[in-house]
Symmetry: C2
Subunit: 192 residues, 2 copies
DNA sequence: CGTTACCTACCTTCTAGTAGGGTGATATAA
DNA sequence: TTATATCACCCTACTAGAAGGTAGGTAACG
């Protein structure tokens, strides 16, 4: 793997565990085994590095949203895959927090270009969720309380809140339990 | 007000907006108009100051829980008061985030004594919520999906997730909307 | 020969924290 | 009622280390 990508991966891991204000170029340099100045060669400023991390995350979501265009997908299964992904990440501690969620909490301290990227990530994610919610309601799989948009925001909030709770308790099962109850509430007859 | 209390209040505000790793004694010194060394006189280490902040927050919750002992309270009203408090704080930007929530996201980077205090705050809060949930179920005001404990954790996660979403979008109404839908789901016939 | 990647060496600014001194109030002892 | 000791409080001045970032050089490669 290229040094460029190694730097991004290292930064992602550090942001997930320590936040933007909690890691330094020295940390990345040690993880990737290069000198600090080499990181500046690839990413002149710290915000450039963090922005690259968020951009890659966004690309994944946008790609996911694109594949939903056809309309032939199971909404319940989509949500389960999404939450299941994080369940696994949190359980094995490989990625104990969504990078955008972490950065969102630090938003007032972030450089403006990075802050914009983080906001865009949230828009992307809730767009994707809105499509899934709409489809789920059409198919009669979801019992929506409000609009699809509102349900999307509420679901997103629950997932991020569950991450925070799991971190606070130091217990991955907290995340699983909260998310399971949220899914159950959304899709009472939730057979996949 | 005593300098001691002014320092705590300033630190609370700074943690809420910038996080533990995002503020320094220099920031507090400027807000309170004293010298850095004077802060060290009251709080030798940064974690001592942050710990005092969380301790005061915990005291409020514990007091709230104590008054619930009698059993003569309206569960729906209790939850509305809780969420309404944050709604107001977020709307007027006076306290745009719960201090413990902010610290929880940074938990892996915190000094151990402070981390313990943050975990204790979450226990206190979910204990209070569990009592409210139990009482609400007994009175037939809440439709619980799982145990009172699980519902308490889920509700807490929703509130913190809603704070994060509101910050990400820079829009206080996001918090209100998410929390309103959560309350509605919990208490469908939610007349106070 | 220019570009890419990486390096050593350095700079400035900020960080938490320390050492030690001055002041004013309060308690104590003559 | 003084003289004195103690204390809380706040200050100036300083430290060592870490922060993000720069300057300028070397080596490989097309």
């Amino acid at each position: 793997m290229s040094t460029h990508q190694k730097l991004i991966d290292s930064a992602r891991h550090l942001i997930q565990t320590r936040g933007y204000n909690g890691f330094s170029y020295a940390d990345v340099a040690e993880e990737v085994q290069v000198r600090k100045a080499s990181i500046h060669h690839h990413f002149p400023a710290k915000s450039d590095l963090a922005r690259a991390v968020v951009e890659q995350s966004r690309a994944v979501i946008v790609e996911q949203t694109r594949t939903l265009g056809g309309g032939a997908f199971d909404p319940v299964e989509q949500l389960r895959m999404y939450t299941g992904y994080w369940e696994k990440c949190i359980a094995d501690a490989s990625a104990p927090f969504c990078v955008a969620g972490m950065l969102a909490s630090e938003l007032p301290t972030l450089p403006t270009d990075l802050a914009q990227e983080v906001r865009a990530h949230f828009r992307d994610l809730s767009n994707w969720l809105e499509i899934v919610m709409t489809r789920g309601a059409q198919l009669g799989r979801f019992e929506l309380q409000g609009s699809a948009r509102q349900e999307a925001e509420a679901f997103m909030a629950m997932v991020y809140g569950a991450m925070l709770a799991a971190r606070a308790y130091g217990d991955p099962t907290v995340f699983s339990d909260i998310v399971a109850s949220g899914l159950k509430r959304l899709a009472p007859a939730g057979a996949s």
